[in-house]
Amino acid sequence: MGLLRDWHYIEKAVHIPALSEVIRDALIRALFVRDDRVLPRDLIADLSRVPPVTVKVKDDGEVRKLVRVLNGQESTVSLGLSAEDYHYFRTQLGVGRTREFGAVVRPRTLLTYDWIVPEQRGVQLDFTGYAGIEFGEAHRAIAQVGATWKQLYDKGVAKGHVVPFVPTVPLDFAIGDGLYGDAPFASYRGEFASHVNALRTISPFGHRARVGFEEVANNGTAYDLLHATVPIAAEFFIPVAVALRLEAKPAARKTLTYAYDDGPKLAVALDKLSRTSQTPTWVHVTDAVASKILRPASVADLFTVQVSVGGTASGMAAKEKAIDTAMAGFTSKNAEVPNPFDVPAAAYRKTADTVTRSLFVGEVRVPAKSLGDFVARIRAFGDQSAAKAGVYASLRATGTVSTFPFFAAPKDRSKVYDLSKGVRAIAAKTPGAAFTSRLAHLWEEEAHFMRRMALLRSLKLTIDTAHVVQPLVSP
């Protein structure tokens, strides 16, 4: 989602003599909120421009043609547009003039915020209509990037598979949002990337290129470029479909719901659960504010934990017993409460519409032991900022909890920035925690991190020598 593009822009900006007196932090803020008291108006006008052309993709052949036009291999005539569209396209892109433009993929749903430096001159690709899903005999699916997670989940179950990863914040994400957006997909056993076998992509030269292997894992095949780039794949090539590793549908499935009235007790229970040999599909945690949004008709407990387990019918009792033991400290337990994911599509979308009204600042990864403390600080911070705070979270087998704090506040960029800053401060005070939002990437100045980002940037420039896929720009 333009991470390298934003990072590169900031790196270049801090070296401009006129801006070098502005400290990095202040510059990021000024760029993020488009502050015309700090930055020249021309610059802000430039940053506020949006791509003049949006192409609704129906077929990956269209993307191939478009990329060839954008990198100068073919003329606009080969796009086969109607005379009217052709004229519009050329006028908007300024084809024939000497300037570079590229393609950028538009996420279907953004959890947090748009990029700082949008693609100003090029083409925006909208994959909403490119949404087929193909299942094979094996436990894998090939989903076109426009397919929604909910479609994949429902169709997968119907075909005898389980889609192990769920969005921690239940919004109506497309699968591609895990590659060019900020969809918080994860399962108990791993991140979204660990469920990706391969990407079907269009290279910066308009070729179809498969990164990874659709049917098997890609161990022992030289550099694992796939998993190094998954969260920012669309900055190296244009992903059009994802080969996903699913699991077999177990004979029995159950969602166990536990309520807690105390943060520290919850933290102990989650830590203990992650130290057992249990392998639930996912473990979803909500505080009272988030629970009220997901289940408005129910009385919300201080914390609610939902654990999705599957297994043989005969083995479910043993699993449930083991999980109950680990989750000790709960005030009540219920096996009948619906989870946010196994609901009809319309109901899911309705909930998503409500969830999306909150202001999200990104993911904070917290050791399970520190969750109670972290949530209490977030709440206090929300109260201080006059923005009531809540948290969606999911537990990993590693004992880390992915938390997504949110605030009841208007989604203006200044507010987003200030709240992000506050969340960062809280994460910094929490031992072992890491704030991983895009702004956090821009703020981070640790030497090894800077070196890694520089290497990723070099890699992008080496792969995308045609400067077509979200080309880097300088101020």
């Binding site: 094996a138 894998r140 056993r189 791993g190 991140e191 990337a193 660990s194 290279s203 179809r208 290129a209 498969r210 292997f213 049917e215 098997v216 894992a217 890609n218 161990n219 022992g220 095949t221 030289a222 550099y223 694992d224 470029l225 796939l226 998993h227 190094a228 969260p231 090539f237 590793r245 699991e247 077999a248 177990p250 004979a251 130290r275 057992t276 040999s277 249990q278 392998t279 599957g310 043989t312 005969s314 083995g315 043993a318 699993k319 083991a322 993911e363 990864r365 050791p367 590693t398 072992g432 890491a434 991983t436 990437h441 070196r451 890694r452 290497l455 990723l456 890699l459 080496t462 792969i463």
Partner: protein, 506 residues
């Protein structure tokens, strides 16, 4: 290029005389890995390093890498030498860095559930250490006894625990790497940020030591299971054992490990150790969980085995199989060498794949066995091996087996594992048009090709002259294909074990 004597003095100044070797004997020891190579390979490559260096710290490794700017000698990092395709063998001499003196546990953090270890430690030693602390490794590579931490990461290995613990790459929190310019890089953030905050760890996973030298790894550990049990079954055929493994995946069971080995494997074992299990096509499954769950899983697995007419082996035999799980290639002692083909194939095609492996072995008149294990819900590792005698003129032709097996894996929508020095021709088959993306990684990290150059992406020879500097990768494929054809034309099968031949006749 500086003279070798000068280079030697500089190396001795850096490490001391006791940790730099240049004797013929020591250089010979490092001129091959686990695979046997015919002598004819020496015509093509300078497999003997000029020097062997044994650093003890990351700083010493960095100093060695910087020294190569003066000496212009190639650097080849090496772990336990348990690889199969020449990834840790020099192709133009130079300095071979043996990492095995860097074998200490650096830190253990039970709260953060991580262990930091130097790259030269073996997996078995690490596993024992972690176990002594009440934890376990989520995944342990198959050659755990000899394989080092850095070596397995560099070869993109998989192994015990993969169905439950995930990929070895996922088990790595962070690596400390000496880059080709001698600088140090931590490949991921200190906190558990996984793919965020520019995690470059996956690029080093399977890199075969071509991007830099891994000196330290921080790995995840998991709590020891409350209960664990190994169960073994003998099946009427290898395909039945393969169908059994496939059924395990389709039943949504997530075992710790599930593997099969063909009857031939146990015939070799019996020839070496009379107390080994009776030869049969055997599947070995290990399950973890609470006591009740383990019992339930065992019942389910029993049911699946019964469907394929699998007979449960007695606990004493099962325990022996589990105890010896890291000894997969003792058959090497029956011949003078052994060739292994490591492939990943779709789980659904495992029964077809094991039959194909046997067919290729028999067509090439080789002695060998088939092993396979589950990696995840889509992937199984197929690891057949054949015996070879590289002292005979026909010995090297056994290498054709690896080529034929790799081709078969590609046809079944899988791929062979490892590129090293011998299988570079598979790179394009693996990645197609994405090969240029993969090559870009080396360009970015090591533009001067200092570290383990001329492997993985291209095949250098020992000759410095234009036109002979490298072999086009398809040339290697043609060479191995010719080996396979010669092998097939050979009128007789090699005889390594009389008992084996007897067993085939039964």
């Amino acid at each position: 290029m500086a003279s070798l004597d000068y280079a030697y003095r500089r190396l001795v100044n850096t490490l001391g005389p006791e940790r730099v070797a240049r004797s013929e004997f020591e250089r010979m020891v490092y001129s091959h890995d686990f695979a046997s190579l015919p002598k004819v390979a020496l015509l093509q490559w300078k497999l003997y390093p000029d020097f062997v260096a044994l650093p003890q710290t990351t700083e010493e490794v960095a100093a060695l890498v910087k020294l190569s700017d003066e000496s212009l000698l190639q650097i080849t990092p090496r772990g336990g030498g348990t690889g199969w395709y020449g990834g840790s063998v020099p192709n133009r001499g130079g300095v071979l860095i043996d990492m095995r003196k860097m074998n200490h546990i650096v830190a253990f953090d039970p709260d953060g559930r991580t262990v930091t270890v130097e790259a030269g430690a073996t997996w078995k030693d690490l596993d024992d250490f972690v176990e002594s602390k009440g934890f376990a490794l989520p995944i342990v590579p198959v050659n755990a006894i000899g394989s080092t931490v850095g070596g397995a990461i560099n070869s993109g290995s998989t192994g015990f625990g993969a169905p439950r613990g995930g990929s070895l790459c996922d088990a790595i929190r962070r690596l400390l790497v000496v880059l080709p310019d001698g600088s140090l890089l931590k490949t991921a953030s200190e906190a558990d940020a996984d793919g965020h905050l520019a995690n470059l760890t996956p690029l080093f996973f399977g890199a075969e030591g071509t991007l830099g030298i891994i000196t330290e790894a921080t790995l995840r550990v998991v709590p020891k299971p409350e209960a664990a049990k190994a169960i073994a079954y003998a099946f009427p055929s290898l395909a039945a054992a393969a169908r059994f493994l496939r059924e395990i995946v389709d039943s949504a069971l997530v075992p710790y490990h599930a593997a099969l080995a063909s009857r031939d494997h146990f015939i070799f074992e019996r020839a070496l150790r009379p107390d080994s299990p009776d030869p049969a096509d055997i599947a070995l499954v290990a399950v973890h969980g609470s006591k009740d769950e383990v019992a339930d899983q065992e019942r389910t697995v029993d049911g699946l085995a019964a469907k394929e007419n699998g007979a449960k082996l007695v606990p004493a035999v099962t325990d022996q199989l589990w105890r010896d799980r890291y000894n997969n290639y003792s058959a090497r002692r029956l011949s003078r060498g052994l060739v292994t083909s490591y492939n990943l194939i779709p789980v659904g095609r495992l029964p077809e794949a094991v039959d194909r492996a046997v067919e290729i072995r028999d067509k090439l008149k080789l002695n060998g066995a088939v092993q396979a294990f589950l990696v995840d819900s889509t992937t199984a590792a197929l690891v057949p091996y054949v015996l070879m005698d590289d002292t005979r003129p026909s010995g090297g032709t056994a290498l054709g087996f690896v080529k034929r097996m790799g081709d078969a894996a590609f046809k079944m929508d899988g791929h062979s594992m490892g590129l090293g020095l011998f299988l570079v021709f598979n790179l394009r088959k693996m990645h197609g048009r994405a090969t240029s993306f993969i090559s870009s990684v080396k360009v970015v990290f090591d533009p001067r090709k200092k570290i383990n150059g001329g492997k993985t992406l291209e095949v250098w020879t020992k000759y410095p002259w234009p036109g002979l500097r490298s072999i086009p990768p398809p040339g290697m494929a043609v060479g191995l294909e010719i080996a396979a054809i010669l092998r097939r034309a050979k009128p007789t099968r090699d005889r390594f074990v009389r008992a084996y031949e007897h067993g085939k006749e039964e």
